[in-house]
Symmetry: C2
Amino acid sequence: MRLSPLLTDLYELTMLAGYCREGMEAKPAAFDLYFRTNPFEGGYAVFAGLEPALDALAELRFAEDELAYLAGIGLFDEPFIAFLRDFRFRGTVVAPPEGTLVFANEPLLTVTGTLAETQLVETLLLNTLNFQTLVATKAARICHAAAGAEVIEFGLRRAQGPDGGVSAARAACVGGATGTSNVLAGMRFDLPVRGTHAHSWVQAFPDELTAFQAYADAFPDSTVLLVDTYDTLKSGVVNAIIVALRLRQRGHELRGIRLDSGDLAYLSREARRMLDEAGFPEVRILASNELDEQVIDSIRDEGGRVDIYG
Amino acid sequence: MRLSPLLTDLYELTMLAGYCREGMEAKPAAFDLYFRTNPFEGGYAVFAGLEPALDALAELRFAEDELAYLAGIGLFDEPFIAFLRDFRFRGTVVAPPEGTLVFANEPLLTVTGTLAETQLVETLLLNTLNFQTLVATKAARICHAAAGAEVIEFGLRRAQGPDGGVSAARAACVGGATGTSNVLAGMRFDLPVRGTHAHSWVQAFPDELTAFQAYADAFPDSTVLLVDTYDTLKSGVVNAIIVALRLRQRGHELRGIRLDSGDLAYLSREARRMLDEAGFPEVRILASNELDEQVIDSIRDEGGRVDIYG
């Protein structure tokens, strides 16, 4: 995907103009990219973001409207604008494969080339690799805590804008997540997309059972019911079991239920017991609501029966 | 700018398909967008992101490749794909102007329209407004702490991908920042762009004075020198004063110096004294390095003489 070469801090361009003026732009140079502290007080990071970074480097060129903008801000002369017009990245990048465990204060990625090439791409590389590595690391920690249960990425609505959400979905899957709610990320990176319904679906119907039944009618083979809109154990799980029985009568099986509030360890244990007693040991329990590795650890410590964390 | 309507959580689409199946898609509906807690343990938030959100709603439509992707994931039938092909957002949005102070648990924005319209746009609105409001709020808090000193946004290299950086620059300026280092944001939103050179510029020359002089030669009317590469007070500020004298002899004035490490309060006081004594009371002092409102407060409490925070 094309990234604008203007996606950079201004000083990369002013320094580059200065190097050109001094005749230093073609000097050989090398930059090491590294970080100083392992994130999340952890012992490692999971390297991610390399493929989009390399794609961006391969396609890096200034468009005419971008050159016109730069010419208009009053810092750069015509020879420098002409230099940028012809600019291509022809340097070399050495890095481990994505998903590799990496550590603080070791070179994560080394860029060699001319001083111009290595200088101009600094911000782009930091922007891409810092964030995706952070997300992949967090995802790996969460997957480790989940101890074999599935983990699905649901971060889009709190991400930093469209691309923040799309690249986070990609990086989370590098770190071990098995799917994402983000449809655009699913399309762009061929990731499994996941999701069913919200509380607003239940509220749009006269009652919970009608809402559940309507959803099951629409998606008989992929129904996951959100059971905490009114009363999780007294209403939600009971109604889910009724719908599961009706689905089975028609040759389908309920896929799962989702818990999105309350004491997830307790509710998942009780829901598991109710589902098992009703003859639905295969119905999976999905838990969501601000989960991280510490919360997942505590759910497991308390005997929680969660199959999928979202 | 076009945002893909696939930039949504899958469940918005599955619910929409369900509503269509039940004949409920044209029912009138209203959604209030609100947040539960003022961020940063503060008393308010600064509303931002409305214009990009409205632009996205106005241009919301599914492209053929996007419809083909949705048809291929096995959840949606042809009538629903046809419904999406014709989908346009014709609802109504009521919101305060950007930059308005807003508070937890009040409706920030109300969307009215059909159930289909109001459902489909939820993730897009949350993604755009959550993040930009958060950044504008942080920027306003920092500007308040800066007590009249300028604040410039430098966040691109740590942002969540390209758009995270671009929209953060916009939101920071809604919150009071007077410029950004992000060139693409500058072009797209007509914001002042700021920046000079990095430590690597100094390291690329045989010595600091040569590096400073080369930069001043290239940008005689907009030179800000980063003075902490080797020894801030014994080398950096001294060399900056030498370059300031040379610039003045040629009819130019040094714009500023930048401190990026160490005790910023102490270093700014000493640098101010040295610059004043050398006859440069107009040279401005810019401080950077992981600043937030608490750090800025403490710099001011300790008598720091910072004119611009970055």
